[in-house]
């Protein structure tokens, strides 16, 4: 039962991820990305990390992608964006960078040791994550919040030309 669910949603996630790249129309790419993120959140549930699953949907599928879709609607991009000519060299840069990223992912997965137990059970996962965020990972947590603050101020500077 669990395995069937896993394979169905893993297939959906991979298929949607490929569809993001294949689609010519930006709106379809964005929608495929939403589908991918939601399918991955189901995989999180199968790992009993339901807090992560819900947060994934709230933040990525629910907040960030809404902004993406909003911007796409606002700009009303033409169906077949023909911007490939100017950026032809990106193809040659993309392949080594993609391979490097793949190497990074594999290397990380190879050396991973389960430091946070997100599988503390259906009721405990939110508490477990919160606890480790405010004890073991306090510095990275605060550093991230600073980073977000800087990004926020950057956005304000961009939006208001004369402060």
């Amino acid at each position: 039962m669990m395995q069937t669910i896993f394979f169905v949603f893993a297939a959906v996630a991979v298929g949607a991820a490929i569809n993001v790249l294949v689609q010519k129309h930006v709106m379809y790419s964005a929608l495929s990305l939403i589908l991918m993120l939601t399918a991955v959140s189901v995989l999180f549930i199968l790992l009993r990390a339901d807090f992560l699953a819900v947060i994934q949907v709230i933040i990525y599928a629910g907040a960030i992608m809404v902004l993406f879709v909003f911007v796409i609607m606002l700009l009303n991009l033409p169906q077949d964006e023909d911007g490939a000519d100017r950026l032809w060299w990106l193809k040659f840069l993309g392949i080594p960078l993609g391979l490097f990223f793949l190497f990074l992912v594999i290397a990380t997965l190879w050396n991973v040791e389960s430091s946070v137990d997100t599988r503390a059970g259906i009721s405990g996962s939110a508490g477990a994550i919160g606890h480790s965020l405010f004890t073991d990972f306090l510095l990275p947590f605060e550093a991230t919040s600073l980073l977000i603050l800087i990004a926020l101020m950057g956005a304000v500077v961009f939006a208001k030309k004369d402060l």
């Binding site: 947060i55 599928a61 609607m73 009721s123």
Partner: protein
């Protein structure tokens, strides 16, 4: 597999799903009747009276009418997304009922992260509106969809943050346990409902919930005087009915959430024989939700629409700071009380 299906626990779950789904769908249909009747009374009109006594069969007549109307798809619309949008809108709206506790045992499943689950699911509902507006390939729907997505992003923030104060006190994300945490009394006679402990959060929640469900005075997605009907201008027949159903379902969800978090959920005076005692919590719950919905309908009948820039200013410059201040104050008090 067969043994699993015949398992009494599974059958009970199936029964709960049927009861809750059937009850909710019936309630949604009659909400349209209630809304028309109440608004009519406010405006000194009789409202629907022709179909059945007091117009009580009006929802059924409306449903049949939706079924038999011509289903129009605009020529230049993006057909796939145009058809998908009402579904995308309705499924999240109905899915959130799977974690709402209508009574101590009348809950399909009590998720440990139930509250966040509802926020996650409802945050997906905006795609229905956005896609519906965009795929119609028409000017008014696009305007409505854009306004709506901006509005929902803005008010989702204060809606979510207003709940944090309640969570700090209840110390759990499970909806059933939030209800249980409110069952003592203050000073011996006032029920320890979060509305008395978190009045600011309650205020912020109710206002943001109205904006989140796109109802008057925040119905900029629709605003019929400016945008014809907003994002569902081009929709007809059953697709339009699905959008309407989703809107009413969202209204019930935010009202039920307000009841659970601020009004003690199914709590209420218990009396009478054992059979009555098992039904009473659900009765109290439905009554409390009904009060909220009545309030929503009255708001629609009495309060005029704001201006769009007023709405944005109000959300970002008043509600958001207020809910943030509420969180800081509440966590300070909780920390002092704990130490």
């Amino acid at each position: 597999m067969i043994e699993y299906l015949m398992d009494s626990e599974f059958l009970l779950l199936l029964l709960k799903i049927i009861v809750i789904f059937g009850g909710v769908m019936g309630a949604l249909a009659y909400l349209t009747w209630l809304e028309r009747k109440v608004i009519a009374r406010v405006q000194m009109r009789p409202g629907p009276t022709r179909v059945g006594p007091f117009g009580l069969l009006q929802p059924i007549a409306d449903g049949l009418k939706f079924l038999f109307k011509e289903d129009v798809i605009p020529t230049n619309a993006n057909t796939f997304l145009y058809v998908a949008a009402p579904v995308v809108s309705l499924i999240p709206a109905l899915l959130s009922f799977s974690v709402i506790p209508f009574g101590p045992s009348l809950q399909i499943t009590d998720l440990g992260v139930g509250l966040l689950f509802i926020f996650a699911i409802t945050s997906l509902g905006v795609y229905g509106i956005v896609l519906g507006g965009w795929s119609s390939n028409s000017k008014y729907p696009l305007m409505g969809a854009m306004r709506s997505s901006a509005q929902m992003i803005s008010y989702e923030l204060s809606l979510t943050l207003s709940v944090v104060g309640v969570l700090l006190i209840a110390n759990t994300l499970s909806l059933a346990q939030i209800v249980v945490s409110q069952q003592r009394t203050l000073l011996g006679f006032i029920p320890r409902w979060n509305i008395f402990l978190q009045p600011v959060a309650f205020l912020v929640y109710v206002i943001s919930a109205v904006a989140e469900t796109n109802r008057l005075p925040f119905d900029f997605a629709e605003s019929e005087q400016e945008l014809v009907a907003g994002w569902h201008t081009e929709y007809s027949s059953l697709k339009f009915a699905m959008f309407m159903l989703a809107e009413y379902a969202n209204m019930v969800t935010v009202s039920a959430l307000a009841t659970i978090m601020f009004l003690g959920g199914w709590a209420g005076p218990m009396f009478g024989p054992a059979l009555l005692q098992t039904a009473l919590p659900t009765v109290w719950f439905v009554l409390k939700v009904g009060v909220f919905i009545f309030f929503y309908v009255l708001m629609r009948a009495t309060v005029p629409r704001l201006r769009y820039d007023q709405l944005m200013k109000f959300g970002w410059k008043f509600l958001l700071p207020l809910s943030l201040a509420n969180i800081v104050l509440t966590s300070l008090i909780v920390a002092i009380a704990a130490s």
